[in-house]
């Protein structure tokens, strides 16, 4: 039926395709493990355990594709959440789901496609939940109270408030004293008159954040294909570039980027480069003064 030459070409093509699939998987796997080294997590015995498992996966290429490595990381990440209950941050949970997604994908016939699907659904659900909290469940997000408070009272945002909001050092200090809980609060101090630039900044930050989160959630949950699927990646990259320049939770940003990167098709080299660039950018963000706060 088939000539031997044709069969040989098909075999070569299949091998090449498999190699390219493995490239995406390897890249995402290695960057996930690298994240544990760049940002060590866990306390006590968990921290060396994470480092050991991540180091093993980076040094031994066979371990990277072994589901036991990822199951080990899942158990460690889950243990971290339980040990810290209820104080664990949301990205500690997400890390656990991502390691589990990797372990599950490596047990399936087409690991790259399986991981891409996990990444897509995890991003969609995370952004959907974040949007529901902001729009429906929270009593003080849409009216701007949340951003007004966090920009005035959270030390991590002091430099941003000064730079973009146009507040002086004295105004920030006065606001901080007025917003402390009863007992610590200076009873005599009230909130100073805030510049209109600050009010505008609060409005923009409030609506920009929730609109972008809703858009990312929808794009990843809806079955988009072809060029419209590029919107999903574009919005996720914009979200990471604009959010983590302000919010000091780089670990969360890296996880989202890795989930996005996992969805790159083997021939989407430019998209992969874009994800890698933003991954590196988040590392640089940590060195920015206003991200450090204070």
């Amino acid at each position: 039926m088939h000539c031997p030459k044709m069969l040989r070409w098909r075999t070569l093509l299949a091998a090449w395709q498999q190699r390219r699939d493995l490239d995406v998987l390897t890249l995402v796997g290695r960057l996930t493990l690298l994240m544990f080294l760049l940002h060590p997590v866990g306390e006590g015995v968990l921290r060396p355990l994470f480092l050991l498992l991540a180091g093993w996966g980076l040094v031994d290429p066979r371990a990277l594709y072994h589901r036991m490595l990822w199951l080990g990381l899942t158990v460690a990440a889950g243990w971290r959440v339980l040990a810290d209950w209820p104080l664990a941050d949301n990205h500690a949970y997400l890390l656990c789901y991502w390691c589990l997604a990797f372990a599950c994908s490596l047990s399936l016939p087409e690991p790259r496609r399986a991981l891409a699907a996990h990444g897509r659904w995890l991003i969609g659900l995370v952004f959907l939940l974040a949007t529901v909290w902001k729009v429906v469940l929270s009593p003080d997000y849409l009216d701007g109270t949340f951003f007004r408070f966090i920009l005035l009272a959270d030390e991590r945002f002091v430099n941003l408030t000064r730079l973009v909001g146009g507040l002086t050092e004295a105004q920030i200090e006065m606001s901080y004293q007025a917003l402390l809980p009863e007992g610590e609060r200076d009873a005599m101090s009230g909130l100073p008159v805030l510049p209109s630039r600050f009010t505008l900044f609060v409005q923009v930050a409030t609506w920009w954040t929730v609109s972008l989160e809703a858009a990312v959630g929808l794009c990843f949950l809806l079955p988009l294909s072809g060029k419209s699927a590029h919107w999903s990646h574009g919005l996720l990259l914009i979200f990471c570039i604009t959010t983590y320049v302000i919010a000091p939770v780089v670990g969360f940003g890296w996880l989202l980027l890795l989930m996005g990167l996992a969805q790159c098709k083997p021939n989407q080299s430019m998209l992969k480069i874009a994800y890698l660039t933003v991954y590196a950018l988040l590392l640089l963000y940590e060195e920015l003064e206003w991200v450090k706060g204070g």
Partner: protein, 149 residues
């Protein structure tokens, strides 16, 4: 036929497990927020950066109920991390456990009190003026006779 059915089911589980887990945890977080006043920032429901009801806006107050009336006391440093968990998730049983840990500390200091009161408070803010409004979330009185052998 049976093995292929099993492997197909196994594949479905592998394809859905992480997201199913995420949804179960998020549902549990919603339940705790509405029943036990868990702060929306925590618990794996992705409610971070959506409300001021977190961290600095939650605080604990501890009183020794003495013959002269309630006397406020400072939470000793070694119990602060336990206190953080209680103020994030002020479940009655967690508050009782916290009181049971604190009471022997004050008894050892020869303080005389019939009960130890633990209160969890939350500060919210008015929209425009950002005027703080402090609200009691939950309060428990833990009788010291529980501490007696």
């Amino acid at each position: 036929m049976v093995p292929s059915m099993v492997s197909r089911r196994y594949a479905v589980v592998l394809r859905t497990l992480p997201c199913a887990l995420l949804l179960i945890v998020a549902g549990h977080q919603w339940f705790l927020v509405y029943t036990t006043q868990l702060t929306p920032w925590l618990g794996g429901g992705f409610g971070m950066f959506s409300t001021v009801d977190d961290g600095v806006n939650r605080y604990l107050r501890v009183y020794l109920l003495e013959a002269q009336g309630p006397r406020g006391v400072q939470i000793p440093r070694e119990f602060e991390s336990h206190g953080e968990r209680v103020q994030a998730l002020p479940h009655v049983s967690a508050m009782r456990r916290f009181a049971a840990i604190l009471a022997p500390y004050f008894i050892a200091q020869n303080r005389r009190f019939s009960a130890l009161r633990v209160e969890v408070w939350r500060t919210m803010y008015t929209t425009e003026q950002m005027r703080p409004i402090d609200r009691l979330i939950r309060s428990i009185d833990w009788q010291t006779h529980h501490a007696l052998p």
